[in-house]
């Protein structure tokens, strides 16, 4: 995921998250470079996207 503010590619959270009480169930990711809060993709969207990617790939092959 790309940080919409500074443009760095982000996967893990920032160290700042460790100190936060709400970090367990938090659906935001903090950019380790600039601190911007990036919304994580919700689980159901991930499944949907994977399904779509697979379908598209299948289409291209077939």
């Amino acid at each position: 995921m790309r940080c919409p503010l500074c443009g760095i590619e982000v996967t893990g959270g920032a160290p700042a998250c460790k100190g936060c009480a709400a970090s367990k169930g938090c659906s935001l990711l903090r950019c380790p470079n600039c601190g911007y809060e990036i919304p994580k993709e919700p689980g159901f969207m991930k499944i949907f996207r994977r399904w779509k990617e697979k379908r598209d790939a299948a289409k291209r092959q077939g």
Binding site: L5, G7, I8, T11, R30, G35, P42, R49
Partner: protein
Amino acid sequence: MPEKAECTCQGSIDEELDGLRKVVLVGSPNVGKSVVFGNLTGKYVTVSNYPGTTVEVTRGRARFGSVEVGVIDTPGMYSLLPITEEERVARTVLMEETPDVVVHVADAKNLERMLHLTIQLLEAGLPVVLDLNLMDEAERLGMRIDLDVLRSELGIPVVATIATENKGMDQLREAVLGCRRHGDGVPVRYGDSIESAVHSIGELLKGDYGISKRTVALLLLQDDDILEVVREKEASDCSAIEEIVERTRKGFSEPLNYIVTIERQRFIGRLMEKTATVDRSRGTDLKEKLSRLMMHPVTGIPFLLIAIYALYEFVGVFGAQVAVDFLENRVFGEYINPAANRIVAAVVPWKVLQDLFVNDYGIITLGVRYAIAIILPIVATFFIAFSIIEDTGYLPRLAMLIDRVFKRIGLNGRAVIPVVLGFGCDTMATMVTRTLETRRERVIATLLLALAIPCSAQVGVILALLSGNVKALGIFVLVMSTVFLLVGFLAARVMPGEQPLFYMEVPPLRWPKFSNVFTKTYTRVEWYFKEVLPLFILASIIIWAGRLTGLFDVVVNILSYPAGWIGLPEEAATAFLYGFFRRDFGAAGLYDLKNAGVLSGVPLVVSIVTIALFMPCIAQLSMTIKERGLKTALGMAAFIFPFAFLVGYVVNVVLNGLGVIL
């Protein structure tokens, strides 16, 4: 390397790659590394997690003319000083896999930013080939790069490629085959103090790191976790090294990472002048022109105003009028509140306890109603609009714009980050001020956040409050930006300092994608709700307790004086008190008053300005105390509180004096 044995999936291909010339591809994400890798290797590749991590590394075989080579594609890295897990793994690959050639795949159109890594790779003593990929995009932007000059200045092979069209791949293969290990190619010097520290540390380092001692020393000075590796590899103890690091750091007021980056940037700036030209007349398509206009300190302002206006229309009209009206007046006003009142009255015999749940300030009738009927629709529409703006790539341009304005008032560009973040949540932004280099910047940014930057929830409710009144919106924006610039300017004068560089990636503008906007809005609303509902309930309880003990009335009474001076009805004082629990809670209180018809016209604008300036919420205040210390925090509060009312007073007098009718 003992870790390798643990990963069986990797063993076979590694054995296969054994004895082959090893080519490692590195580069930041999205520069086309995977495409280059695919072009070179073809079908037979293995993907595996790097031992002990979830980060993937891809390996494959390739035939370069008559020579067979092994190619490794690494996760994206921006710098040898890692921020992310991916970067850490990429660096470990470089250190442990003894590459015969390192191909730095770079985005040609962002050459300047890319060269930071090239130089670090050279410093590391690695045999580097620079691959300027995405050459088609660079050309489209009118960029011309003199490869010969770049080659001679850096002393390494440089090739230009368009990986997606398979162009330049033969030259890349040739360059890789022709590349020999370089000595310490060290183009950049970092000043006497750092250089002598690098030298002394280098003498003390005895282990084999796979990268130059100069690089290890520089990383140590820049506060890198490579210290753990060093502790492991050095047989004797490292206290002498750590001492040098400590001593050198003490000699600078800024972090060494910063000094090093600036020196590197200077070198790159000179190199860019010699090698790259941009033909402004060519290739500047509409998007590019638009992008430049958005970042220009003069033309950028109208774009910002348009963005604010669009936000306002959507949030103020749709969110605040249609949705809130429905939830507040219909759902809560007609059904939930009366029903809750009835049920609680029937079940709970004591009036005092009834008040905890229902009636004027109950958990259900106030806390939950504010959260669901007022805040939720407003914040949801705000998040939709914000996610759209975010998805177009406007935010980095806004940051560049603010940066340029900042420079004029004497503030450093990096302070722009917490300020932009503040529009999301001021509390978190206050925490991020930690990343600013000097104390001066940290104090100024914290003050601006506490004073002049309303958080997203508050912006949402304010836009809603101003709905249907563009003139009032204009006055609000004008007052807030004047305060922001004025205070920033004064603070910068009171605490003068130097102005360092600021660098950030500006991606191309694009149309927002529905799925992105949906995902972002959904996640933000969910997060907001999780955070906000319990707090609103808590606030209701505190207000209930405060009223019960009479404390609440005392505070409201005190607050009603300054409220009265700036021409506000007494009830507005209650909203100010709410605002302290959460900024948006206070704004929602004003919204309630507006709906009740108590607050409108000039007093409404005055109260919005005051509440927007007036108070950070409890969370932000405690964060300010934590980050800046009690004394500074109290000092700020002592300034902000009267200042907010003073501005409210001035706005009131001016508007009334001019006979403005809103």
